[in-house]
Symmetry: C2
């Protein structure tokens, strides 16, 4: 017959530590500790399978399971020589949920189950402590009433506070026994009133109720929400752990505590934790008494301390990971209540992983799986001082990590004006390319609109600048320079603080801490990851400064240099605008000639910074009207001038400009005149850019550096588009080589960012020497989602479970990923060694990096500050691929 | 050794009629006629293969080919008992190009080759006609000088006119011999001046020059342009035909003429053509003398006429098609110079095809290949009276066929106001959904922007209304109500005429002719096509009136009813706007309840009109802001009001509206909050629409009609999107069935219009009961082309040869088509009998219909007026599929 209930106790358990699927995390830990001979209060675990049956049978367990529970209970009673409901030696138990993954939102714990009006007296007698017994009883009714009977906690609190006041007690511990008894009576009356039934006196009925409540809590809305957010399968189910109570509050030889085998904050190898003498776990949590550092235990109960050290050392070696444990000492005897791999900060995770490899405790492969890639962020950016007091105003999307304080400005121009006087934070409804100069001088950016791939987010990440976007609850009045957030009005010059890693926004100036990314542990850990990974890691960088940062963070090349970002600089934009507004090719060429030296200088800087490494340069991509004043703003200006009878000449000029802007206006610019379409309509633009690239390359080559330019044609959908642009690249290259007398090796490739490009990838690969997946655009076109507009829709879809993640953040493997796979296969069918990378925002997302490894890409490229994350994710991908059972992520 | 030169003459030819690839069309015809024993002047054809060699060898032919030419020439001289350059019996030849497909732009003809100062005298002697000989000579120099030596024709004309004037001749035929000789001398001097060389006297050299000129003309810019536009392969090459001259101008027993075996204009079975006594072909073309109807020939040369009738009857039977022939009678002897399948009007094509089937001359399969689907348009719409004098103003894109005249209006409101007083043509920069009421009352629509699938084009086609879009050379000043076109300014109320089938725009009112689509020939021909086709044909129709038209044209159901078009009607839009501006679900439901009766009534009308046939209804698709005032217009209004210190209350109201419109604003609405995303965010909209559909269905069913609703969910990319919407459909259906006590069969399916939907088509097909390809959106997303913005880009791409056709007009088989194929395969892998159709604009494009047939779609759906075209195209697809050698199109 199938086993549904697993007993543990007396040095032996039915289950094992690797049975997390069946026993849940907690149950597996208890079984493992029991088997290891550790002092664990005995009990039994009802398996997750029973949870599934519970839901299939509409809340009934069936005879087989009930019999197994009864048998386990009898065994427990035998072992402990106690009996549920006994008037002499009553067995008291705790009932806890325990799924495979720890899950807030599910029922946590019911303690002291088994107490009733009769057993409470037996408990008092056995412990010689009336107060303890009645306090345990009233706690039990309260917990059970709230968790199982679903009575509002506030109702209990009201009764409690009323009687406590009446008894003139300041602390809970001062409430006299009589008052506790009065509370019990009043609680029971409350239960009767709310449930129309007596509080269950029968401990078996209590147990039944508690078990059902645990199973029922699996499907409460908070739990469902949590699972959805964390991608935990609905079908896993939870186990129920029924365990003999031990009491840390039975006098001064009792106590309870929690601890870690290493410091979870710093990673230092030190015994770390705290305890309370004569207390139950609840008291530690409630914060009524201040716990004592765990080393004190050595002084007050040296034997227990020694035993605890020995046990937890063993546990760490056994689990080969830092342990987070709970223990209780009952009258001088140590019991282990729980052990699990401890949560830790990024800093600690890195240190512990690196040290454990050095200690020989774990393999390098284990080590890379011990750090969540996103945790590395903490080591790369300033963080808020955890000790600082903060006033949160709102929370937006965590667009770009870091923590900064600055004075509020509402326009890019104001930012430029005020920045020399001190740090400024640029606050906008949304940002546009026009705002670049303001973004550059600001220490942080806050917007009320836009998603994780909005302009503000993408540019800020590229700059490694703290950024919070889409804070929809705030109102930004740019005209009147007022920010309304959290019910407050903030004005220009007021201080504000952004936490980019959480998306939180705080009032005033909050102190921050600069971390040290060049620390020994970090470098050591990254070296471990680098040895394992197969994927190359490059960075998206447009200017030499970013390239240097990227290289410092370990980038092995530049995977995407967006040349248009060079066009937005203040000294260049006028030429760009003039060029766009030109009506003839000669006029355009004249302005392009003025832009050439700027571009060349930028490329020289990039090539110098990346000496010896490849630099992928994408030709101009965005629609030209991005460089011009906004159409609707011009319309308003003209209308206002007209209404006010403004100067005729000014009106005429504005109208002329408006006309040209109108002519360039597009309904869907994302699908409009951009990418290689620009270079085909205006070959002179591609020509100028190529000339700047090759002149720069030759100059830097002459200076003795190694230059590896890779020229990338964007938005190709037709093989001929690529051929036409490549012809320009090759022609200009030859011209420059001839003129300078220097030759450099170069490659010409294309972005694969349109579904049609995927379909004809075999044809494109006939002339293209490399592919780089532009997964931002590929996601846009595959889904038909504009990344600028889809934030709300995607949010709605995630809330409704239609999407499990934002496809602009985490690569949609099923759809976009399938297209990528097709592109890789078709491209390599033509050119078997075709170099293929990715340069969309996904290049820095761990799950996406894993997928890129799986489908055989050669490299990923991401923003400089995400390079270490990508390096780690790439290593994890290899480990996951080699032992797929482990799953891609640490939990 | 390979044959490069094919002789014909003496009743036998080396080549055959089916060797068009090698001999070109003309050469194959000459060979076929010769083999059939018809009187063809002998000659030889230099094959198209030589053209390829000519280009590979930089204009040289090589020894083998030269020898074959010499041999053929010797054989020709033997057969005709004449000799090139002979002073006694000089051989004169014509040299003509002749590719597989007739191609304007290539060199046409050089006549009288072989003449020089000596042979001209021999010709004079032999013909006893000095004038004839010298006139032939001067014509030859002129033709050769122009075509081979590339001297401007004007230079020859100046000389000719000067001497003609000097000789006091009014007609060319009045120029005396001496003057003709003077012209010859002056022509030669001109050649010497321009080419720095004497005019070639040696006939062999003349022949060599003419052959090279023919091959050279294959790659002149006009020829290249023509091939690109008509998708003729560059590698085909042209043949050269060298043929003995015969002369129709050797007196009154000579003559020349052209004719058709049936009337090419009406299709009537009558001998049709014209001839001239004592003339060369050139004279007919030049229009100097008025030709005589061919029946006159019976009177003047009865034997020749009898022979010609017999020969052309034979040719028609032989080629099993109406023939277009040329003949010359030299001194009472008939020669056939050319025969080919004759070009004809749509009306004639249909009549001839139907009659030839009846005559047993061709099979039904042949018949359907004899009519270009686009020709049917002529039979379905009014056409301009071909006899009318017109002044063309401009040419735009032929968005929707027909020919209409009307008075110009510049806004939808003006259209509504002026329409009761007479026909109006709506002239706009572009149209928006707001303009629908104006489009409905206008007889035609003209826009200066937008492509073949712009709003104006799509809506106009749907309405069967004449429309010209993207007339980029015109300027539309909507504010001042001025249309500037072709250098003229037209104002409101001025007459204008549109020709939708060509995109031409004319000044004033041009008379039109109403065709008769219900004629016997048309019906008979369509019945032939219907028997052959496999694809079902449905129509896109939104209102009962369109559905009735569609049914009349043979639609077998409605493939797409766009419910949003119902939302734009004047009595509904306010409710729609209120609904959109609502902040809460109850408010939205209130407005939706008001819309329900309207929708229900529309659906009732549709179901009644389509009794017994399926009606596919798509739930709301466009972004909601399409129903609201334009954002930028509101911004201008507010700014103007502010600048003028307008009433505070009005400003406040407008600003409030603007705020809501701002909130709905999207950067790329095509990729935004539309399609099923609306129904998921606002399930109450889908609910209302389903309720209206099922209530209407039940009402019409009760009235004894057969109702087959097919509910279609738009823009699905994720299987769960579809499931969620289908759940609403099913729930509402059951509710309505219960409430009305009536049940109707229905299906729920989805549009496949996103690349992601293609990828997961297998999953979608688990719940979707049918697919309909939305190839407009699929083309947009596969290419990353916004159809509203891409007109210019696509035009540029076609001019540059990057695209061979507009993918929004003709399905891009390689990219979008490959996605469709994938969607079909994956969908049917799950549900093997899945019903699949197409409802994009491509459903009415013949080439696209052919592809839909090939990939196994069940039906295509197109605008009502294209239904006959689709029916024919579907039949042609079957014939092409069964005999792929024939190619998909008649040429």
């Amino acid at each position: 017959m199938q086993t549904y209930v697993y007993f543990f106790g007396g040095g032996k358990a039915d289950g094992k530590g690797d049975m997390k699927d069946t026993l849940g995390g907690k149950g597996a830990g208890l079984a493992e500790m029991t088997n290891a001979g550790l002092p664990v209060p005995p009990g039994f675990t009802i398996s997750t399978e029973v949870c599934r049956i519970f839901y299939e049978n509409n809340g009934r367990l069936g005879e087989d399971i009930q019999r197994q529970i009864d048998e386990a209970l009898a065994r427990l009673e035998g072992l402990t020589e106690q009996k549920l409901g006994s008037t002499d030696r009553p067995l008291l138990v705790s009932v806890r949920s325990g799924a495979k993954f720890s899950m807030p939102g599910m029922m946590d714990t019911i303690l002291n189950l088994g107490l009733n009006d009769i057993t409470v007296k037996a408990l008092a007698t056995r412990t010689g402590n009336d107060r303890f017994a009645w306090d345990s009883y009233r706690r039990f009714i309260q917990m059970y009433g709230n968790v199982v009977l679903q009575i509002n906690k506030r109702d209990f609190d009201e009764i409690f506070d009323h009687i406590k006041q009446k008894a003139n007690a300041k602390l809970d511990t001062e409430i006299p026994v009589a008052a506790l008894q009065e509370i019990v009576l009043a609680y029971k009356a409350l239960v009767k009133e709310k449930t129309k039934a007596d509080f269950p006196n029968d401990p078996r009925q209590q147990l039944q109720g508690a078990i059902n409540a645990v199973f029922g809590s699996w499907n409460n809305p908070r739990a469902i929400h949590y699972r959805r957010m964390n991608k935990i399968s609905e079908s896993l189910g939870t186990a129920v752990n029924v365990q003999t109570m031990v009491f840390g509050n039975m006098g001064n030889t009792s106590g309870t505590g929690v601890g870690f085998t290493r410091n979870p904050s710093t990673g230092e190898k030190e015994f770390y934790g705290e305890f309370l003498i004569n207390a139950q776990g609840e008291d530690v949590v409630a914060g009524i008494r201040t716990p004592t550092p765990i080393r004190e235990l050595e002084r007050v109960m040296p034997e227990c301390y020694r035993q605890l050290r020995e046990i937890t050392d063993r546990l760490e070696r056994h689990y080969r990971d830092m342990q987070d444990f709970e223990f209780t000492i009952q009258e001088g005897r140590l019991y282990m209540l729980q052990t699990r791999n401890g949560k830790r900060t990024g800093k600690a995770a890195v240190k512990i992983a690196a040290e454990m490899v050095r200690e020989g405790l774990i393999t390098p492969e284990d080590a890379v799986m011990r750090v969540e890639p996103s945790q590395l962020d903490q080591l790369l950016h300033p963080i808020l001082d955890p000790k600082a007091k903060v006033k949160e105003l709102t929370q937006g999307l965590p667009a770009s990590p870091g923590a900064v304080s600055g004075r509020i400005v509402f326009s890019a121009d104001d930012a430029v004006e005020m920045a020399p006087k001190g740090r400024v934070v640029l606050v906008r409804k949304e940002t546009v390319p026009d705002d670049i100069h303001g973004m550059e001088v600001a220490v942080g950016i806050l917007t009320s609109r836009g998603g994780m791939t909005s302009h503000a987010a993408v540019v800020a990440r590229g700059m490694g600048k703290c950024c919070v976007v889409g804070a929809e609850s705030i109102t930004v009045d740019e005209r009147n320079k007022v920010l309304t957030a959290g019910g407050k009005q903030l004005h220009e010059g007021d201080w504000i603080t952004l936490e980019g890693s959480t998306g939180k926004v705080f009032e005033g100036e909050v102190p921050t801490i600069d971390p040290d990314p060049a620390s020994g542990d970090f470098a050591e850990f990254m070296a471990i990851a680098d040895k394992i990974r197969r994927l190359g890691i490059r960075a998206n960088a447009d200017v030499p400064r970013d390239a240097e940062v990227a290289r410092k963070f370990g980038a092995e090349g530049i995977g995407l240099c967006r040349t248009e970002h060079m066009f937005f600089a203040e000294d260049r934009l006028p030429h760009v605008q003039k060029m766009i507004l030109s009506n003839t090719e000669p006029e355009r060429r004249e302005e392009l000639a003025k832009l050439l030296p700027f571009q060349r200088a930028d490329f020289e800087g990039l090539f110098r910074a990346m000496d010896g490494l490849p630099v992928t340069i994408r030709l101009l991509d965005p629609p030209l009207h991005e460089f011009l004043p906004k159409r609707e703003e011009l319309m308003v200006e003209v209308a206002t001038l007209r209404a006010k009878n403004g100067p005729a000449k000014e009106i005429e000029e504005k109208e002329k400009l408006l006309q040209r802007v109108e002519a360039l206006h597009e309904f869907n610019p994302m699908l409009g005149h951009r990418g290689c379409r620009l270079g085909i309509t205006y070959p002179e633009i591609s020509e100028m850019q190529c000339r700047a690239i090759f002149q720069a390359a030759c100059t830097v080559r002459k200076a003795g550096k190694t230059v590896k330019p890779e020229i990338m044609i964007p938005l190709v959908g037709l093989p001929k588009e690529f051929q036409e642009q490549k012809a320009i690249v090759d022609r200009v290259a030859q011209e420059v080589f001839k003129a300078t007398g220097v030759k450099v090796e170069y490659m010409t490739g294309t972005m694969i960012e349109l579904p049609r490009a995927v379909i004809v990838a075999d044809q494109i690969a006939e002339t293209a020497e490399f592919f780089s997946f532009g997964t931002n655009d590929l996601t846009q076109t595959a889904f038909g989602f504009s990344r600028d507009d889809s934030g709300k829709i995607i949010g709605d879809y995630m809330a409704k479970g239609i999407l499990t993640s934002d496809p602009f953040q985490e690569l949609d493997r099923e759809g976009v990923g399938a297209l990528m796979k097709m592109g890789v296969e078709r491209g390599r069918a033509t050119r078997h060694n075709l170099k293929i990378g990715i340069c969309g925002e996904h290049g820095g997302d761990p799950s996406s990096v894993e997928f890129c490894d799986q489908v055989g890409l050669d490299y990923v490229s991401c923003s400089p500050y995400r390079v270490p994350i990508a390096r780690l994710a790439a290593a994890q991908a290899v480990v996951s691929r080699k032992s797929p059972g482990e799953g891609g992520r640490t939990v």
